[in-house]
């Protein structure tokens, strides 16, 4: 409980610092959004007027506090470019990206747990070496390339799945799933290859530990000792990696959304960059960063639950 409070406090500080960094980065360094919006031929008066409308003529501290205060109420401000409210657009897209990341995670875990454990258990055999080689190859393929290959195989050649696009879950669950399969696979296969390596390494480390020998000395057979005593211990380091990977997936989804033309946060973000819509970029970035921070804290808490050596302090 005390730990929970401490972690929440540290999450809060990190989030505040992050918001400050993001704001500083995007609002202090760049040129004037009003000038950008009006182009280079604008009259100074027009620029000043727009500046006033945007509120960028106010002191930076006021701007920041205003923005940050808005964030707390889910108000991300109004876009300088499209003049829409940014908040609803972000919430719309965030769900899509979450589905992608979670689907990718599911694929990665389902792939990596058996593959990693087997690669470790067979590390002296050809089958283990083959699994290791496959995971090496998988790591070397970026997710968007995997996406392109999957589109080629399943959409172009087999015609079994759509090459891109998205249908909301509420509209048609079947179509929703069909549209998510390939993006999730391309995210999950690559992350799964990375995770396989970590699982293998964690299991191999455990295989050489004394307590596993003790388990065998009490009459457990090799495989049973690994299951009952080895894997619970191997889970501890793997969990940390899982947390990091979920963060990677959230951000990695940005690229995969581009491959499959999925209207997620990434798509919105790139649109914002293309339009130089700084307030939009600012909003999406802070959402992603806070999501990553939350995932990290949750992982940390689970980690403490799993390892009694950390729990007791």
């Amino acid at each position: 409980m005390r730990l929970l409070l401490r972690k929440l406090a540290s999450l809060l500080t990190s989030a505040v610092i992050a918001s400050f960094v993001v704001f500083a980065f995007l609002a202090v360094l760049p040129g004037d959004p009003a000038e950008v919006a009006l182009g280079t031929n604008a009259t100074p008066d027009a620029v000043a007027a727009l500046r006033h409308e945007f509120g960028t003529d106010r002191p930076l501290v006021t701007q920041y506090l205003d923005w940050a205060q808005g964030l707390l109420h889910g108000d991300f401000g109004t876009s300088y470019v499209t003049h829409d409210l940014i908040g609803p657009r972000i919430t719309d897209r965030f769900g899509v990206t979450c589905w992608l990341a979670l689907g990718g995670m599911l694929v990665a875990v389902l792939l990596a747990l058996p593959a990693g454990v087997l690669a470790a258990a067979w590390h002296r055999k050809a089958a283990g070496a083959l699994l290791s080689a496959l995971s090496q190859a998988g790591i070397a393929i970026p997710a968007f390339l995997a996406g392109i290959l999957l589109v080629y195989v399943f959409a172009v050649r087999a015609g079994a799945l759509p090459a891109g696009g998205y249908t909301p879950l509420a509209e048609d669950p079947g179509e929703w799933a069909r549209h998510l399969v390939l993006p999730c696979l391309s995210l999950g296969l690559v992350q799964g290859a990375v995770l396989t390596r970590y699982v293998r390494s964690a299991v191999l480390t455990v295989l050489h530990q004394d307590f596993l020998r003790t388990a065998r000395a009490k009459g457990r057979r090799r495989r049973a000792a690994l299951w009952r005593h080895g894997l619970p211990n191997a889970a501890v380091p793997v969990l940390t990696v899982l947390g990091l990977q979920l963060s990677t997936l959230l951000v990695g989804a940005v690229v995969v959304e581009r491959v499959f033309v999925v209207p997620g946060l990434g798509d919105l973000l790139l649109q914002g960059v293309a339009d130089r819509d700084l307030l939009l970029v600012q909003g999406v970035v802070i959402v992603l960063v806070v999501a990553v921070l939350v995932v990290n804290v949750v992982t940390d808490l689970l980690y403490h639950l799993l390892d009694p050596r950390l729990r007791s302090r």
């Binding site: 005390r2 003790t214 009490k218 457990r220 009952r228 009694p308 007791s312």
Partner: protein, 586 residues
Amino acid sequence: MTTAPLLEVTGLGVDAGAVPLVRDVSFSLARGERLGVIGESGSGKTLTALALLGLLDDGLRATGSARLDGVPFDLVGASDRDLSTVRGRLAGMVFQEPMTALNPVMRVGPQIAETLRLHGTRTERAAARATAVDLLDRLRLPDPARAARAHPHQLSGGQRQRGVLGIALANDPALLICDEPTTALDVTVQKDIVDLITGLSAERDTAVLYISHDLALVASVCHRVLVMYGGRIVESGPVRQVLSRPAHPYTEALLAACDLSPGARPKAIPGTVPAPGALPEGCVFRDRCAYADDACAVRPERVADASGGTVACWHPRTGAAATEATPPPVEAPREAGRVLLTARKLTRRYARPRTRPFAPRAHFTALEEVGLELRAGRRLGVVGESGSGKTTLLRLLAGLDRPTAGTVETADGVGLQVVFQDPMGSLDPRMRVRDIVAEPLRGAASPGRVAELLTAVGLPADAAARYPHQFSGGQRQRIAIARALAPKPSVLFADEPVSALDVSVRAQILDVLRGVTGERGMGLCVVSHDLGVIRYLCDDVMVMRGGRVVERGPVADVWSAPQHPYTEQLLNAVPVLGRSFSGKGS
């Protein structure tokens, strides 16, 4: 009562690929008998034990035969499935490292209960847990119910080892294999564990295979003993016979090397323990043996000798003059010189992490108001168990740490140097020996000076150009001594200088330390858990416990008439060869 042996091992061997690690090990063990296996690191004693239960690492292969009474198959070469019915039921095993032998994410009780349920001794979960608590009680763990609920990291080393013993003994096995079960523990704890093992063995008629490098300990536990060297048994026999009148030159040399008793002078075995695969043809001990001749180029068979033992040697010692005591080196009587260093009321506290924000910090006191004086030409020993504060004291005296309170004063022009415990970790692996030795000289080193220092500690001058990993543990410790001597310190500190070394080279290092301090009128301060080392090396002793000094005085006085009960307990806990034999027949 059956006369058939419980365990019959014939021609056991272990290979790592083409390299033989263990060869031709044959012995038998009767019910209730306790058999010791003695050897230095690399002798193959642990591999032998692991091979018996099929617990060798992948990549190692066992050959030969091992039959356990009541088991229809040969233990060597049996399948994992078959062996798993033997392990934990008919044969239990206790390992060297209690800190890592238990599953860290599982409570201790369930780990013991698992053994009971696995072999059907108790099928109900609750009954198994209750039995586990009973077992911990029998192993004299205070508050066994609480210990059963604890995770391993919440227990001390000795408590954990009792947990491991509980797992091994849960199903009342006929055979208990102990691999250095107390090496990682303090002497007083060691005594408790050893007493437990011998007591339970006698009570339940459990046979024990007891592996150790400590001759005196084996003498106090076992009826019979096997001496291993280079992967082979070189001698066997009743423990009193073998350790008082050894027949094999190696046994004799080992006894001479570890004899730190008053009036004796330990004698190192020349050379180093060879790597497996680098053993000589013929007799494995040939190139380190004082009696070797041409006959030894042919491997001697192990043959029975007159006194009920066996020995593999062409020139067995008759034992008549086996332990001719070499008198200790004659030293000019050393006068206590000027005071080099004075410590007053040294206290060191460490802050514990806050348990909640803004709570006052809790402190742990590692050392409390310790004072001492080091004089030129005197050797002070500081002895204590883990947690006694002895290492903290040394670091404060040497200026490697700052005291929370109290002062350390050195006389004018007094330099301090330290010889550390771990000869692997105390030399920078990326530096050549000459740079290591010259480090304290800071550019003032000439090649001649380095060579001179290396010679002083008994190393060849060509060692200067090599890297630390090219030396054995004993040689590395010599390099560390040479470095410490380089700036001509007035006081030399030594932190457990020989505890990481094999018995056969310990004596050399002790003699080097004794020699350099004697010649130069230096003050020496040695910290050790090993009473024998202090007894051998020092003039005065300080006994520490829980950060305080409980007793101090001249070595001879403290040994003959300890004043503090803890000192007495400590002295009694140490197994001593001569004393061990008494009160136990074979």
